[in-house]
């Protein structure tokens, strides 16, 4: 290829990428514009939020809006509930789903295919079909407005079992055989050899569970309506009902509720994206 051709090729490439930058940059700005707007409004006065034309920067930064969130809603206890229900569900699902997923992928027992098929059939059923009976179970156990009540159904996951089974199916047999010859029992093989190998699958499961647990609204709305028992999603929905026009406080509360997951997931972005990508595996 001649020099000029190479140069022309480079020019074309640069031209192309310029278009890519314009489109991706413009679109990206649109994507985060609402959040930038939220941040600015969360440090403005209510009068500034409601002014026309909009003020784009507050005349004086109102940091106290974030402190005020604690007086209009029980933010501390909602945060505690959100953290606890998320942690419990992640731990529960990681243990239970990997145990079951491993058994379905690697062990032989009567009825394996049939039991798995029944569990997988749940994946096609929309969540509303479980909601009324689940509510009754929690009510009968006296667990309304408790962490146990919010967490209980979410400790188990048909999706998680399927995800972990797919992972264990993809691991090589040899290590397992060697351990068996050395006299390890199935639980030792599972916990010492297979679990470490399934780290990617466990990450994917944990990430999906964190996202879903932290953000879910409908189930906790039904189960935990009191201020002290409500996780952040319900707390925000209630706050919006009670202080619909106190915009700076709403923006600050919403920002504080999202921040932990946003910071955590942006920091681990590669893992999170890989996990979400994997969860969509066939």
């Amino acid at each position: 290829m001649s020099d000029s051709a190479i140069r022309a090729g480079r020019r074309v490439k640069r031209g192309r990428n310029a278009i890519a930058h314009v489109v991706l940059g413009g679109g990206g700005l649109l994507m985060i514009a609402p959040l930038i707007y939220q941040v600015i409004m969360s440090i403005s006065t209510n009068a500034e939020v409601q002014s026309i034309p909009p003020t784009f920067w507050p005349s004086e930064v109102q940091w106290h809006n974030f402190a005020d969130v604690f007086t209009v809603m029980n933010f501390g206890s909602s945060l505690r509930v959100s953290v606890l229900i998320t942690m419990l569900r992640v731990v529960g699902q990681v243990i239970l789903c990997s145990l079951a997923g491993y058994a379905f992928a690697r062990m032989r027992f009567r009825g394996r295919g049939a039991i798995l098929a029944v569990i997988l059939s749940i994946l096609m059923v929309p969540g509303q079909l479980f909601l009324i009976p689940q509510f009754q179970i929690v009510q009968n156990l006296g667990w309304l407005n408790t962490i146990a009540g919010i967490v209980a159904p979410g400790l188990f996951s048909a999706f998680g079992v399927f995800l972990m089974r797919q992972f264990f199916m993809g691991l090589p047999d040899e290590l397992e055989d060697a351990a068996r010859l050395d006299g390890a029992n199935p639980f030792q093989i599972f916990s010492k050899i297979m679990m470490p190998l399934a780290a990617n699958g466990l990450w994917a499961l944990a990430i999906i569970t964190v996202l879903w647990s932290w953000n879910d609204l409908l189930w906790p709305l039904v189960i935990a309506s009191t201020q002290d028992a409500a996780p952040l999603s319900v707390g925000l929905a209630n706050l919006q009902g009670e202080h619909a026009n106190n915009y700076p406080i709403l923006m600050a509360a919403s920002l504080m509720a999202m921040a932990p997951i946003l910071i955590l997931f942006i920091a681990m972005q590669k893992k999170v994206m890989a996990g979400i990508g994997r969860s969509g595996l066939k």
Partner: protein, 318 residues
């Protein structure tokens, strides 16, 4: 979704049987005794109590009427008859369909953005990925509050922007029609990050040689996009469209937070799941709510089946 079950029957047998190693066969034939049952017991228990039995119960409830003081009375098919005479059902079905169609528009957008993002040697690609990914991980209840302000009729930035163009913006979240468009816009905004992850992964699997060959044949970049990228992406596109339709029919959080229970435009905007929630937990009409739930199940099952049937016509599996 039919894949896992078919593959599940074939795969476990295929592995051990094909290998000639007698040692392995002996190990497998021995079986694992009671161990597997210990492994699956907690899950089988939890899934039965919290998922399988509830499905049966909900099915039964859909034939009952609930009294004010609890207790359910069997009323046969009355709830299903009522579904047909309840005018809010077709309205909410239409709303759900419109919402889903708007969110589906995120898929072609994601294909174009993804193709640009994967341009060879593009700088800041990681940064762009982060920007588009952020809305996907936000809490619907939290961003719903933000978007309600963004769409505010009096001082929201969208109407201010429209006023610059000489357009008088509507009261988005309290006007039927506009309210649904506003909620769906947010749905699209949130789902784009997920679509990009799945489609981006699909794109990276397309062998670079195909593009190089096309380049040598003098195919333009636009031509490459339509003749290589899009056809080879159809499995990913199919997957995200199935997910989008299923989650579109689950619309609740955004609607609830952006509009609020007391919103007068709610009857013209509500989704099927909102109707379910309303009857089950606000009006304590759980029998009818159960029938609405069964209806949602049937619609999602039918739509998914149709999508799997139609996929043969347009999805290319290599």
């Amino acid at each position: 979704m039919s894949n896992p079950t078919t593959e599940l029957r074939a795969a476990p047998e295929a592995g051990p049987e094909e290998k000639p190693a007698p040692l392995r066969r002996r190990l497998v034939a021995r079986g694992d005794g009671a161990w597997p049952w210990l492994f699956i017991l907690p899950t089988v228990f939890g899934i039965t109590v919290f998922y399988l039995w509830p499905i049966i119960q909900t099915f039964y409830y859909s034939f009952t009427k609930w009294g004010v003081f609890g207790g359910a009375k069997f009323i046969g098919l009355d709830n299903y008859v009522r579904l047909f005479s309840d005018s809010s059902i077709p309205q909410s079905l239409l709303n759900t369909i419109i919402y889903t169609l708007i969110v589906l528009m995120g898929i072609p957008i994601a294909v174009v953005l993804s193709a640009l993002m994967e341009s060879p040697g593009l700088k800041f690609a990681g940064f762009y990925r982060t920007l588009y990914f952020i809305p996907y991980i936000t809490m619907p209840a939290a961003v719903g509050i933000v978007w309600r302000l963004v769409f505010n009729g009096d001082f929201g930035p969208i109407n201010w922007f429209l006023s610059l163009l000489g357009i008088e913006g509507p009261y988005w979240t309290s006007t039927p029609g506009f309210a649904l468009a506003a909620v769906a816009t947010v749905g699209l905004w949130m789902s784009l990050g997920f679509n990009l992850i799945i489609i981006g992964a699909g794109l990276r699997e397309i062998p670079q040689e195909i593009y190089e060959a096309a380049e040598m044949d003098g195919a333009s970049r636009l031509r490459q996009f339509f003749s290589i990228t899009v056809p080879l992406l159809t499995p990913s596109i199919f997957f995200v469209s199935v997910v989008t339709v299923i989650s579109g029919f689950q619309l609740f959080d955004l609607l609830y937070v952006m509009m609020g229970k007391a919103n007068l435009a709610m009857p013209q905007t509500q989704s099927l799941v909102y109707i379910f929630y309303n009857h089950a937990f606000l009006e304590n009409d759980k029998g009818y709510a159960a029938a609405v739930g069964i209806l949602i199940l049937l619609i999602i099952a039918a739509l998914t089946a149709v999508q799997f049937r139609v996929q043969r016509k347009w999805v290319n599996y290599v």
